[in-house]
């Protein structure tokens, strides 16, 4: 059952450019994939490590800005991408080192502050980042000589990265390190007593999470050929967190569903009303009140409840 569903959804993804014969909607589909990568990166930390971060837009932005800055100052695509990944890794390590001085609520507060620093640099350090005007780049990269200028080839390129990230996260969470990461989330004291280095495991998870976020940032730069401080804002971090939590944390599929819902909602709501932030805020409150475990597990729970109610009724009649 699960395998069939997986095969069907993969097939749908692969055929999406044929099914969606409109570059506007295809671009939105690409954006869903990029958001899903970002959300999956955040999920590594929020879901599997149990550490809520609200500074990940900063890491997303560092990836995008590094590449944009290098490309705009004339460096090659490969060097720009490689350095963007490198700088994101280094920044994630610094973020992780500082934020892991605390756990729980303190950790969360520090990530907010760090994310705001990144935003402040992008917004105010005008000679470096162009301030509110952002940075534009001339063209998307052309790996192996394949042009990604069109909507369809870029969708496939994003899809490949998306699948690679999903695969990597799946392997990671099943690996001994991934299992011990969940251990540090549920029973940090016991893990320490068992001889695990809880700090190091969390540190690694944070850096990996930052890496995936940076990759998403890089892809987002390629898609829009533009980056501005807006991508680092507190609101952007909050949207990513909403994707993770609405989909259901610590599941492989949750962040993907969450990303699809949030991006789709954003486009639909913005088309009718200007009040996206009001809706976003209301969704946050509603999810906490009605589906605290997220939409995917929450729907499964409701579905089971309905079904068991149905079978009971049958048994009675």
């Amino acid at each position: 059952m699960k395998r069939i569903a997986l095969a069907v959804s993969l097939l749908l993804l692969a055929l999406a450019p044929l099914l969606i014969d409109n570059s506007y909607y295809l671009n939105i589909a690409t954006q869903v994939l990029i958001s899903a990568i970002f959300a999956q990166g955040l999920n590594l930390l929020v879901g599997y490590a149990g550490l809520v971060s609200l500074g990940h837009a900063g890491l997303f932005g560092v990836g995008a800005y590094t590449a944009a800055f290098l490309l705009a100052s004339g460096s090659g695509q490969v060097a720009a991408a490689a350095l963007a990944i490198g700088v994101t890794l280094a920044t994630s390590a610094v973020f992780a080192f500082l934020a892991l001085r605390a756990t729980g609520i303190g950790f969360f507060m520090i990530t907010v502050a760090l994310g705001q620093i990144a935003w402040g640099i992008a917004y105010r350090w005008i000679s470096l980042t162009g301030g509110d005007n952002g940075i534009s780049i001339a063209a998307r990269p052309a790996p192996f000589g394949i042009s990604l200028a069109g909507a369809t080839p870029f969708f496939y390129a994003t899809l490949i990265v998306f699948l690679a990230v999903q695969g990597a996260v799946a392997v990671f969470t099943r690996s001994p390190l991934g299992v011990s990461l969940r251990g540090t989330r549920d029973q940090p004291r016991r893990m320490t007593a068992l001889g695990f280095n809880v700090w190091l495991i969390r540190f690694i998870a944070f850096v990996l999470s930052g890496l995936v976020s940076g990759i998403a940032g890089l892809l987002s730069l390629y898609q829009t050929k533009f980056v501005s401080p807006h991508v680092l804002s507190l609101g952007a971090s909050a949207e990513a967190l909403l994707m993770v939590i609405s989909g259901g944390t610590a599941t492989l599929l949750g962040p993907v569903v969450g990303a699809a819902i949030v991006v789709a909602m954003k486009y639909i709501v913005s088309a009718y009303v200007e009040r996206w932030n009001l809706v976003l805020g209301a969704i946050f409150v509603a999810i906490v009140l009605f589906m605290p475990e997220g939409l995917v597990p929450g729907s499964v729970r409701l579905w089971r409840k309905l079904r068991s109610a149905g079978t009971k009724r049958e048994a009675v009649s």
């Binding site: 929020v46 809520v52 609200l54 500082l98 001085r101 605390a102 756990t103 729980g104 609520i105 303190g106 969360f108 507060m109 520090i110 907010v112 502050a113 705001q116 620093i117 402040g120 640099i121 917004y123 105010r124 350090w125 005008i126 000679s127 470096l128 804002s233 507190l234 609101g235 909050a238 967190l241 909403l242 939590i245 009040r275 932030n277 009001l278 976003l280 805020g281 209301a282 969704i283 946050f284 409150v285 999810i287 906490v288 009140l289 605290p292």
Partner: protein
Amino acid sequence: MNLWVLLAINSIAMGGLLFLLSAGFSLIFGLMKIPNLTHGAFFMLGAYLGISFIRLGAPFWLAAILAALTMAAIGGIIERLLLRRLANQHQAQVLVTLGLSFMIADLCLMFWGGDPLAIQAPEALRVTVPMLGVRFPLYRLAAVLVAVLAFAILWLMIDRTRLGAMIRAGVDDPAMARVVGIRVSRLFTIIFCLGAGLAGFGGVMGGPILSVYPGLDTDMLPLALIVVILGGSGSLVGALVGSFIVGFLYNFGQAMFPEIAYVILFLPMLIVLVVRPQGLFGKAAAS
């Protein structure tokens, strides 16, 4: 020379405003363990309410008090209806307070529009006084005075009164406090109302200095965060000292290194995190 004096006095005034904002944030964070991300929005909504009260004809101080009372009531409703159910669920608290702050910010934009609005300082304080060789607006001195007054009242309340003793007991050991007959949940509501009211009052006080505009909430929230991380959560003295440090960094950073002012603002926070993670005046680490 004059420029430095002026900057220093402005910094102190800014510190006073920040104390009004972050005292409540620090108490809510330190005592109730709630990361209240709505606090910046409380500050902004208080300022906008103050504008409306003034438009209705209220004098400045009355408008500030009315705004504070309204914010205290709103804070009380939020605490009773939403946060009460989410005790000790940090992730849920983060989501709800963040969601509320988005909603408040968007509603403010809807009702008061996107243009910056100014609040006129009360007439008696609009004059400038000669001080240390510069002409200094009296209103800023009044802001500092109000902040120090607020600090003194809060400190006396928590350290010297029966209510304060009950609050401290409820924080140290809620279960035991309940056993001896203290209604801890009511104490938490009082703290939350107090924090929201102070933020609203600070918003109106800040109006003549900062003006009121969409985005004021997200400008102020990080400052409150820095103050609390610097000073240590739940510590009033920490909030006061942290506020003045941030006030100075903010004004001098903007004047001397405008491009990286924001980074300078955060540097001492990073140093404190590395050297003394519980904050300058915080108690030893509680996980």
